[in-house]
């Protein structure tokens, strides 16, 4: 699909035949019969980075730049396991980590292991602000 616009929305209606879940099933293939036969499971009912990027493009086309960026950050988190997500969230909460370096290392790990470039920058920026506001120490 070329960069979608508001005219492509809702994707499920306009592109239900080529919108695919994480295991390659199109939305139209996800039927009750397929669920009953065990061909479709919860794994087929997750959003994909492609879908989130498409929604980001639609949001941007509608003038919602910040919403688009959130969807793009979210796209980077899709393959990040739940425990890593919760661990990162915990680290971002006040008083959980002592030093700027711990946050910077988490950011680097997210960039390296999951290709989460924007998320990494986001965490690094948090670390800088936390340092300035005294939530973490240099070190």
């Amino acid at each position: 699909m070329k960069t979608p616009t508001v005219a492509d929305y809702p994707l499920a209606e306009k592109h239900g035949d080529d919108l695919r879940g994480p295991r390659g099933r199109t939305l139209d293939e996800v039927t009750l019969e397929a669920v009953m036969e065990g061909r479709v499971g919860i794994e087929d009912l997750r959003i994909t980075p492609e879908a989130l990027h498409a929604q980001a493009a639609i949001a941007r086309d509608a003038g919602r730049e910040t919403l688009a960026r959130n969807f793009e950050r979210a796209a980077e988190l899709i393959d990040v396991p739940q425990d890593v997500i919760m661990q990162t969230y915990e680290m971002l909460r006040p008083g959980r980590v002592r030093t700027h370096r711990e946050l910077a290392e988490q950011a680097e790990m997210l960039r390296r292991d999951y290709g989460a470039r924007q998320i990494a920058e986001f965490v690094e920026r948090a670390a800088d602000i936390y340092l300035r506001r005294g939530l973490v120490e240099r070190g």
Binding site: L11, F122, A126
Partner: protein
């Protein structure tokens, strides 16, 4: 000599003390201690400085002094390209643009991207309550209004949750939200509500408000479709005291989107004041910071307008207006708005009604961010502004103002069917997944119960065991769909699958998204483009009819049917032998009773519930008991009380007549008086007793015999008799007037009391 003691109180104050309003407490304005709705001396003046394309100062704070909130807003919300233009505009001029239907919403949204919190607050504080409501109506993102409801109960009983979720869906709520009395019951609550919400139609989004990590896990198991527990605050200290930062919350917002779950933030005036970190700033300014932060995070929407702080905000001068202003800021910033009207901010039903009105007529993405669909004692979020008790009041308000509050009346039959189906569905799922075996007695008690105090169902402890089992076995919505389909609940299984499929496309992650008739509807494909009368959201004929369809409405058929019920019994009590021409009486003791055209022919009972035979017998007994002579005449030329009475008086030997309408209104008149200047009138037929009628007859005779008369008074308790009876009265009167023949002379009526129809024979 006894002295009358000096009064020390006007007892009206004691009456006022008894009103529910006096349970509300009110706080004096005190900006230094945070009690200021719109303005505080500590609020900064709006301002921005930009250097090399970056924000160098905002609202009087230099970049290197920014706290976390300032920094986040400067990074993500404030657009340096637009800020110079937007900040240079006169606030009064922008305020006028907000209420100018010729200025498009999109232009105002663009300008908001370049405004600081202090600027935004400065603009909306210039609008009065009506202007705020109008601007809100123009600025809200989605055209179609919607509503959200709470589904909880005091026992966390899953059978009742399923039944109540089905009812909420049936009523038209676009989102339902549950929470628990016992936190561990979250999995059982989620499964029960989502099964209940699949009965009848699909598309109601569902959330289970619980601890952040658990809420995300329940979402990943497919049970929930949205979250709104991402709270943000307007001061740094409140934020960290709430155990978060703008970055941790923004990260969470992205995490929800990555799992295909719709999310909105929560904020609201009074939160910082409740937490004790208000920095002596006004509620509105702090909320403006919260909202700029939310737009910056890229969350699609907010739940604001007091929320948990609403009861506190409502104690402050202008508090209700401030909550409206907060909601306006949210939609101006292009955020979906679930506009509060949530925690019950008052004990006064009048304040409740006043609070909801602007939202009902303006419309809102979600008018309530938690309408209590259940009884108030079952609301685990605490009582809402509107609860199950007052649900019909809300339905009637929609009808009164032809305003779409997102709800549709349910018939009693369909409500019972929905409850039965939902309870059977969740029971089948529990049995199929080997989680529990609800008995028929449990199910029946829940189907008919108004609230959990009436049920004999799962104990809270039993539910905890079910919940633990769902979590331990890692059951997902797929297991539930399979169980439903296996047990014959195929429609519910399909509904549920459709709901979960939403997350694959992510269409419902866009701003203000809901599902209507199987389609995602959001600010993208249903944008609010209000531009004056005839534009924006209007009720179409089908929707208007749906809103109009409240229960127990009256029409002429109902009234005639009701009257006909008494026809046979009356025929056994009384016979009206009409005929001939009525003459003017010559007996000076004679009182004429003039009855109305339909009296005893089509109408048989007064609005006070008295048989007409009894009323007539009492009047005659009264006249005769006082030494008068009664003669009954039927009028054909009028059905009006005054003219019935005056015409009767003109035919009476004494010159005194009684006019009596079939609905029970009665009058004493004298022949020389002006039509509307009667001697006595019983205008409140619904509360007029037979003794009153007998007294009226006695007095008529006393007037005839020129005795001293003490008028009969029918005491009222101040009931809204018009509201109770006027629809019926107007229909009855139309039946009377349809028989009026202006040229037909009065007829004498020989009344014969048969004494076989029970009481009332003279």
């Amino acid at each position: 000599m006894t002295r009358t003691p000096l009064p020390n109180r006007w007892r009206r104050y004691s009456d006022w003390d008894e009103r529910p309003l006096r349970l509300d407490r009110f706080a004096r304005d005190d900006a230094e201690h945070g009690f200021a709705a719109f303005r505080s001396p500590s609020d900064p003046s709006p301002g921005v400085e930009i250097a090399q394309g970056r924000i160098a100062a905002m609202d009087g704070v230099l970049a290197h002094d920014f706290d976390m909130i300032d920094a986040f807003i400067a990074d993500h919300h404030l657009d340096p390209e637009i800020a110079p233009e937007a900040m240079a505009m006169d606030s009064a001029e922008v305020a006028r643009m907000l209420v100018d239907m010729n200025v498009p919403r999109t232009e105002l949204v663009r300008l908001a991207h370049g405004m600081t919190p202090a600027k935004l607050a400065d603009v909306v504080s210039r609008l009065n309550a009506l202007e705020i409501a109008f601007a809100y109506s123009k600025m809200r993102p989605r055209e179609r209004p919607g509503n959200q409801g709470h589904v909880t109960n005091a026992k966390d009983d899953p059978l009742q949750l399923a039944a109540d979720a089905a009812i909420a869906v049936g009523l038209g709520f676009d989102e339902i939200e549950t929470t628990m009395r016992v936190a561990r019951n979250s999995w059982a609550n989620a499964m029960a509500c989502v099964v209940g919400s699949s009965v009848g139609r699909w598309g109601t989004l569902f959330q289970c408000s619980s601890e952040e990590a658990e809420e995300l896990r329940i979402g990943m198991a497919g049970f929930t479709s949205y979250a709104e527990t991402v709270s943000v605050y307007g001061t740094e200290k409140s934020f960290t005291d709430g155990d978060d930062t703008p970055w941790s919350k923004a990260f969470l917002v992205a995490a929800y989107a990555s799992r295909g779950i719709k999310a909105r933030c929560t904020s609201g005036g009074g939160a910082e004041l409740l937490m004790g970190f208000h920095e002596a700033k006004s509620l509105l300014y702090l909320e403006a910071r919260c909202l700029c932060l939310q737009r910056g995070m890229g969350v699609q929407g907010t739940q604001n307008g007091g929320i948990d702080g609403a009861p506190l905000t409502a104690t402050i001068t202008g508090g209700m207006r401030e909550m409206m202003a907060e909601n306006l800021l949210a939609v101006w910033l292009d955020l979906e708005c679930a506009s509060g009207n949530d925690a019950r901010a008052t004990e006064s039903e009048i304040r409740v009604g006043a609070k909801i009105m602007p939202y009902l007529v303006a419309g809102s993405d979600f008018i309530c961010s938690g309408f209590g669909t259940i009884l108030s004692y079952d609301n685990s979020f605490n009582a809402s502004l509107f609860n199950g008790e007052e649900l019909e009041d809300f339905l009637v308000l929609q009808r009164d103002f032809e305003a779409d509050g997102g709800l549709t009346p349910l018939t009693e039959t369909s409500a019972l069917e929905l409850r039965r189906r939902a309870v059977d569905a969740i029971s089948a799922v529990f049995e199929e997944l080997d989680l529990a075996q609800p008995t028929e007695a449990m199910k029946t008690s829940v189907v008919q119960a108004s609230g959990s105090r009436e049920t004999d169902s799962f104990s809270t402890g039993a539910t905890t065991r079910i919940s633990a089992e769902i979590e331990r076995r890692g059951l997902t919505v797929i297991d539930v769909i399979r169980a439903l389909a296996k047990r014959g609940f195929e429609e519910e299984a399909r509904n549920l699958l459709n709901l979960v499929k939403l997350r694959v496309s992510g269409d419902y992650l866009q701003t203000s998204a809901i599902v209507r008739d199987g389609q995602v509807v959001s600010a993208i494909n249903d944008p609010n483009e209000y531009g004056g009368p005839g534009t924006g959201y209007r009720l179409d004929e089908a929707r208007r009819e749906a809103i109009s369809g409240i229960r127990d409405t009256l029409g002429q058929n109902e009234v005639l049917r009701d009257q006909a019920l008494h026809k046979k019994a009356e025929a056994r009590r009384i016979a009206y032998l009409d005929g001939g021409d009525a003459e003017i009486g010559r007996d000076g003791n004679e009182v004429v009773i003039g009855i109305s055209p339909a009296f005893g022919l089509q109408l048989f009972r007064t609005t006070g519930g008295h048989n007409l035979s009894e009323v007539l017998a009492c009047l005659i007994r009264g006249v005769e008991g006082a030494g008068g002579v009664a003669r009954v005449v039927r009028m054909h030329h009028t059905a009006d009380t005054s003219f019935l009475g005056l015409s009767a008086a003109r035919m009476a030997g004494s010159g005194i007549g009684i006019g009596l309408q079939a609905k029970g209104t009665a009058i004493i008149h004298a022949r020389d008086r002006l039509p509307h200047n009667n001697l006595e009138l019983f205008s409140n037929a619904p509360i007029t007793t037979l003794d009153h009628y007998e007294g009226l007859g006695r007095n008529a005779a006393d007037y005839a015999l020129e005795r001293e008369v003490e008028p009969v008074l029918v005491p009222t308790k101040g009931e809204a008799l018009g509201a109770r009876f006027h629809a019926q009265v107007a229909i009855i009167h139309a039946i009377e007037t349809s028989l009026v023949d202006p040229d037909r002379a009065p007829e004498p009526v020989a009344v014969k009391f048969l004494g076989t129809g029970g009481e009332g024979a003279a």
